[in-house]
Structures are given as C-alpha cells and as structure tokens.
Symmetry: C2
Subunit: 350 residues, 2 copies
C-alpha cells in the first residue's frame, strides 16, 4: 500500500523488525526504553530504523495506550495580546514535558467553544485548559461530571469545583481605582466587560469597593458596559464623555476597551490626563510606545499560562482524588502619566 504522499510505502515498526531480524516487541522496547535489550540487537534495530527512515505513528500508539500526550487550549481571542502571552506560557511548559498543544479560538462564542470541546474530546486530548466564554453549558457540565482533567484560566465558573488559575481581579481593580481616588478624583467612570464572564463581575466589585472605602457615592450612570471589545470600549467612553458633569477619570476593565477609550477621547480632541484621566486593566507589550503612557494594572500573563499548564500536568500525573487546585495571582499597578497629578480643582467641580 502506498502512503498518501506517494513517496513509497510508509514504513512501520514491523518493517523495522523484519529488517533488523527481530520481533516487533524488541523494536517497540528499543523505541521506548521499556525493557533491557542487548547491545547487539539494539544496534541492529536503530540501524534499521535509520536506514528505512522510520517515523513512529503516534496515532496508533495513542489508540493503544489511551493517551495522546496532547492537551487542548481554548482561549477566546488570539488577537488579544493578553492571550498570546498566556499561550506562550502554556506551550513552553507543555513542550518541555513532551506534550503538544492544540490551540483553539472560541471568539467568546459559547457555541464555538462547545464545538471545540467536542472535537478535542474526540481527538482524545489528555486534558484541557479553558478560558470559558460564558456561563456553564451542558456539555461542560458533562465533562466536569466525568471528571475530565480541566483547568479554567483567567475566568472562573463557580460551583463546578474545577481547578483554576486566576487573577485577583477584585483586588487589582480596587487598587487601580483607589489610586485614582488618591489623586483626588471624585467622579470616576468605569467601562465594564462582557457581563457573562467572571472577570467583569470581579473587577466591578473592586471598583465599588474602592469607592466605598473612600466614602464616595455610586453613580450608576458612571458604569457603562463596553462588551470587552475595542468598538464597545469606544462607545462606552463616548457615553461617559457625554455625561454632565463629565467624569474626571475613567477606569477601563480590559485592554481592548482601553484602546477604544483612547480613540474616543482622542476623537473629541480631549487630552489625557489634563482633560480626563485613564487607567486600564491589562498592560500592553508595546505600552512603551503609546502616548500618553498609560497607567495600568498589569497581569502576569505568561505566568498565568505557565501555571495553568503546570496545574493540568500535575493533575494528569497525579491521582484523581486530590482536590482541584486553585491559584490566584496578584495584579500589579504600574503608574504612568495617564492619571495626572492630584486634580485639586476638580474637587470643586464635583
């Protein structure tokens, strides 16, 4: 039988055995170092492999051992630099441990996410890292019920008892808003993300907590959803800028929306921080070339990916009975010029 690229017959372990004049088990054991083989035979086998250009068939192996050495990674947006850093982290760990990563993009779409979950399951990945697009759906519940090795990344879904690697979103948001308060801002707008993901709720909670601590009132009109996208961020910022009186500062709950806010502010000819201060959640790899330099809450993105992979691989190696690990990393406020100095004057405006 010809293989599919017409290069001749595809060589199997059996061909190698025949050529080396040994049994298939010997070849297999040489391949995997799984039982002692005399130097003599080992040599013959290796030579035969080389001469024939043998390439092990991982598919057959997987079928037999019921393990694929592959993990699935489902993220919601690969064009978001947050996730690309995460992917690097996951991939580096996986590769070092002999795992391959299948990366999928859910586009924040639960249907697409479900499709990918099914495909990956069908391909018998050993485990999954998932940044869930929304509320738990039935298929996800099934996976959890079947105790399929799963780690949530970035976003959590409560009550499922799934391992997770997350950021302390509430703490980080609180820190950011408190910074604005300390600078004298009293009317602080917030652009929130998609309502269905946990980060949105938690970051909003941080915003509210910071206001409460400062004894500031909560004005509902100052809280606008930006749907976690650039365009949504732009629209939300515009809504905030339309208010009278205008907020003196905006806290944007993710990087894409921050870009949208920048665009909106710029389009009105307003300047940062003189006319309005801006603090973003998520740093940018290219923050050094943005003007003005943005104050942001940076996430340890690469580390989040690394951790998620480690938690998953630990789970794959260990026993099933251990309780699911939960890792919560802190965010880091990086102050740059987009907040401005204490705007004393503005206190009067409020």
């Amino acid at each position: 039988m010809r293989n599919r690229f017409d290069g001749g017959d595809v060589v199997t372990l059996r061909d190698v055995a025949r050529r080396a004049g040994v049994s298939t088990s010997t070849v297999s054991h040489v391949l995997n170092g799984t039982r002692p083989v005399s130097e003599e035979l080992r040599r013959r086998v290796l030579d035969a492999m080389h001469e024939l250009g043998y390439e092990p068939n991982a598919v057959a192996r997987s079928l037999k051992v019921n393990r694929s050495n592959t993990i699935g990674l489902i993220i919601s947006d690969i064009s978001n630099p947050f996730f690309t850093a995460v992917v690097r982290g996951v991939e580096d760990v996986a590769q070092a441990r002999g795992y391959t990563v299948i990366l999928c993009n859910s586009d924040e779409d639960v249907a697409k996410e479900t499709t990918y979950l099914k495909v990956l399951r069908s391909k018998r990945v050993d485990g999954l890292i998932l940044a869930p697009a929304g509320r738990p759906h039935e298929y996800l519940r099934n996976l959890v019920k079947a105790d399929f090795p799963l780690v949530f990344l970035d976003r959590d879904i409560e009550g499922l008892g799934v391992a997770a690697v997350l950021l302390d979103n509430e703490g980080a948001a609180r820190q950011a808003v408190r910074h604005l308060v300390d600078l004298g801002h009293r009317r602080i707008g917030m652009i929130t993300g998609r309502p269905s993901i946990s980060t949105t709720t938690e970051r909003l909670a941080g915003y509210l907590a910071a206001l409460r601590e400062a004894g500031l009132p909560v004005d509902e009109r100052l809280i606008v959803s930006g749907g976690s996208s650039i365009e949504g961020g732009r629209a939300a910022a515009n809504a905030l800028l339309d208010l009278d009186p205008r907020p003196t500062a905006i806290f944007s709950a993710n990087n894409l929306m921050t870009i949208g806010a920048l665009v909106a502010i710029d389009a009105r000819g307003l300047s940062i921080p003189e006319d309005i201060a801006l603090v973003g959640f998520d740093d940018f790899p290219w923050s050094g070339v943005l003007r003005p330099r943005l104050t942001t809450v940076a996430q340890p993105t690469y580390e989040l990916g690394r951790m998620a992979a480690e938690v998953l691989l630990r789970r794959l190696a260990g026993s099933r009975s251990e309780p699911p690990e939960r890792v919560v990393l802190p965010g880091k406020l990086t102050v740059r010029e987009s907040c401005g100095a204490r705007p004393e004057v503005r206190q009067g405006a409020w």
Copy 2:
C-alpha cells in the same frame, strides 16, 4: 476497563451496536452516512448513542482511515500581531472545512522547528503550513522529497518547489522608500531583519531598487541589521542616529523593529517627523493609538493565512501531480503623519 477519568467505562461504537441490537458496521454507517440505513435502525442507533453518551474516538478512526483531519501550523512568533492575524485566517478556513489546527511556535529557532515538524509528522497531520525559521535543513528536505503536503507562509525557501503564500516584499518596500524619496528625503536609513529569512533579502532589494530609480547613491552605513526584534530595532536605530550626517528618514523592515526604532528615537528626545521620518513594514492593529501615527506598508495578514489554508486544503483534496501553487499578494502603503511634508531644507543638508 475504566477510562482515565473514572467516570465509568468509556463507551465505544461496539457498546452502541450492542445496545441498539445491530452490527458495528451499521452503527459506523449511521455515524458517517456512508451507506443507506433503514429509518428504523437509524433511529435505534441514534437513540442508543444518545442514551450512552457515545463520543466517537477520532484516534481510532484516524488510524484506520490514515487521515487525521488535522493540519499543523508552525509560526515563528505568536506574540507578533502579524502572526496572530495569520493564525486567525488559517483557523477560520480550517474550522469551516472540518479541520483542526495544531499551532506551534518555533521562536525563529531551526532546532525547535525541526522538533515540531517531527512531532506533527508523527501525529500524522494531513499537511503543514510553515513559516520557515531559516535555511532548509535536512528534515525539511526529506519532507519535501516525500511530497508531504506543505505550504510556506510569509517566507520562501527557493529551489524546493514548495507551494507558498507570500507578500510581494520587494514591491512593497520599493513603494515605501519611493514615498520617502518623493517627500524629498535623500539620506534614508534602513533597518533590516534577520539575514536568514527571505523577507529580509527581498525588502532590502526593494529599498535598493527605489534608491536606484531615484538616482540616489547607496551608503552602506545606512543599512543596519535589527535582527527582526524590538531590541535589535532599537540598537539599529541608535546606530543610524549616531551617523553624521544623520539620515533624515528611516525605513524599518518589520513591526517589532519599528517599535524599537520608536523607542530609540523617543529616548533621544527627537520628534517624528520633524527631526526624523519613519516608515515601517507591517501595520499594527492598534496603529490608531500610536503617536505619531505611523506610515506603514500593511500586509493583508488575515488573507495570507486564509490563502495558505486554502492552498493546503486544495492540495489535500486534489491530486498530487499538480504543480505547487504560488500566491503573491501585494502590500499596501498607508500614509500617515510619521513622514512629514517635503523636507526641502534637508536637501541642502545632504
């Protein structure tokens, strides 16, 4: 036998057959719609599948049909927005056609690339899209010789006769440099990329062609390698800025180096375009928030990915004997403010 997540026995096609009281072939044919089945049996089979929660084992299927419905995609840097857009393009096409993508990051490292090639081959991917990290190595030659379905993306390796989806780098670079010439620049520095990839040579050729057309001399000191990285771009820009007389414009041959150049220029307190003009190769998704707005040669990134996937899938569907497809897309010069107006004065300086 218990499956690996202890959720009970993993249900196979055979279990379904037993439950439905039919043969395994019938179940298989219901699953794949590959031969007529009476409505009666079809119903029983589907019910059984549902009741048992059957999930097809793609690994077993792949072993049997010698096809995995998976393609490999090896890029050199996932944190480069150029490649993330490419990935989206590839994935969208693949998904629509029922293929899964395994994404790998070579980090511009030929050794890592080779490792991934082997792993993917061993996993029996149906084909590969590759942005080669450097010169052709032996394993790659083997793949080509075996006529393994392969498509080069972004970078070419000549003489291998492999299908490729590329940009007209020379034309695009020429266009960019000519624009600078038209604005009156006479001393134009160029920051080139890694020497081992084809884009570097081609973009340099475009630069030289534009100078030649304008009757401008070539000054070797104006051509500096930036190694395709941010840091390298910074260093290269610094080298150019140290020249006396200083170039009045810089053409940077990829996006990362452009960022580096921006940093270097900014660090010296020089302003763009007054003190020095800048044109970059590759646009940024967030170009709207960069200051100054950069003039760039944009590549149709998403389209490059889409095309590469389409060429590959066409190859997988069609016969092996067709000549390898080659697609070359044009770049698009987008003029923004980083070049400045005609700098008449500078002509004197030259």
